[in-house]
Amino acid sequence: MQTEKKTVNQFEPKVIAFVCNWCTYTGADLAGTSRIKYQPNVKLIKLPCTGRIDPVFIIKAFEKGADGVLVSGCHPGDCHYNAGNYHARRRWIMFRKMLETMGIDSNRLHFSWVSASEGKKFTEVVNDLINKVRAAGPFKSYEKINKEYVIND
């Protein structure tokens, strides 16, 4: 009984996943059609390629209240556009480092390669991230600076 009560009050993280159309999105589809369950805290945003995932999307997601962000696409060599994911990877290396230095915990930002056939891996990646974010708690850093956007009289 006690454990059940706990789950009711437990913090439920909001996770945004930016995924590539050709691999991860199809992989997520496969997870669905194969009826593999994963936690419902994730919201998928489909983009043509990981190369299209502008870092500003990730900043915007955190800004607007995401507790965690997943970025996922085709395995190296499998890119539908040949090299989109290689370019993306370079960018991520720099971007990840920057966010880390600026105080956005790398536990909240995950990168993964999930192919169209890896429905199972997709659920693992998502569950893993959600669990990590849940353990880390809500992302409070932006909360303070977001407060001034609303007024209550």
């Binding site: 480092k97 230095t101 956005i104 990646v125 600076i145």
Partner: protein, 284 residues
């Protein structure tokens, strides 16, 4: 070695260039950018330890670069920006003529007795791409305090919440004038992401949220491209230490990819290229 004035004069007389972007005196111990068009204009040209500006920013302005070959007076660090612009296909080498000198370093500000921060550990005092060489005037100054290493250690000792606080406090001073962008030779986009309104990616208000995302994106867009000329910091009216975050990204590029922008015009740009063997260990 020819005298700068004579050189510029003869270049303009012979029609080898249509104009020369250089410096002229601006009160005592200070210079300002200047374009010489006629041979007589060359009289005012100077190159000394007060030439703080990075003139390569003018090479990104169409009104200036269009209309014939442009001469430019550039110190080693400025040449890095010119090379970076060539690397990014922004300008062509044949359109410009670089007049450079063995650099003596520049003063931190008007009448300052110490070098500017960008001069610390400078590796390009000897110019690495030039067409004409002249002499730089000025006396030796003393080394400034290394604030960067100190600040870096301080930040790295913090936890992520503290770091976020540290940076949002730092950027809360920002007034969103975008002087950092305008003064930067590498910020040449026709339309900056900060000016895009549909959708509005970066809020234009100078609130903590808008300031933080602007400064994050600015730093990221310059990562692997910034050469550390510190023009942004010099232009910033709010005195935000922008070079700190720039340098952090510069160091990252160096550590991860052994890449320094603006050193070799043949090297592909960091973000514009890839290697199939790039670090993969953070990707699940």
């Amino acid at each position: 070695m020819t005298e700068l004035k004579n050189l510029v004069k003869s270049l303009l007389e012979e029609g080898k260039v249509t104009k020369v972007i250089g410096y002229r005196m601006y009160g005592e111990n200070n210079t300002k950018p200047y374009i010489a068009v006629t041979p007589n204009d060359a009289e005012e040209m100077v190159l000394n330890t007060d030439c703080r500006n990075n003139l390569s920013v003018y090479l990104t302005k169409k009104e200036i670069i269009n209309g014939g070959k442009t001469g430019i007076v550039a110190k080693g660090c400025d040449i890095r920006n010119i090379i970076a612009l060539i690397q990014e296909n922004r300008i062509k080498e044949e359109d410009i003529l670089i007049i450079s000198a063995e650099c003596k370093g520049v003063g931190a500000e008007k009448g300052s007795a110490v070098y500017a921060n960008k001069c610390v550990n400078c590796s390009v005092k000897t110019p690495h791409l030039y067409h004409e060489l002249v002499e730089m005037k000025g006396s030796e100054l003393s080394q400034p305090k290394d604030k960067y290493t100190e600040a870096k250690e301080k930040v790295l000792a913090m936890n992520s919440g503290e770091r976020f606080e540290y940076f949002s406090n730092m950027f809360s001073e920002c007034i969103k004038c975008y002087a950092c962008r305008q003064a930067c030779p590498m910020c040449y986009c026709e339309q900056c992401i900060a000016d895009m309104s549909i959708p509005r990616w970066i809020e234009s208000s100078a609130t903590d949220r808008g300031n933080l995302s602007w400064n994050m994106i600015r730093a990221f867009h310059l990562s692997g491209r910034c050469t550390g000329c510190n023009e942004c910091e010099r232009a910033c009216p709010a005195e935000i230490p922008l070079s700190f975050i720039n340098k952090l990204m510069y160091d990252t590029a160096k550590e991860e990819f052994n890449y320094e922008s603006g050193m070799n015009k043949e090297t592909p740009t960091l973000i514009g290229s890839y290697n199939t063997k790039d670090n993969d260990n953070f990707i699940q």
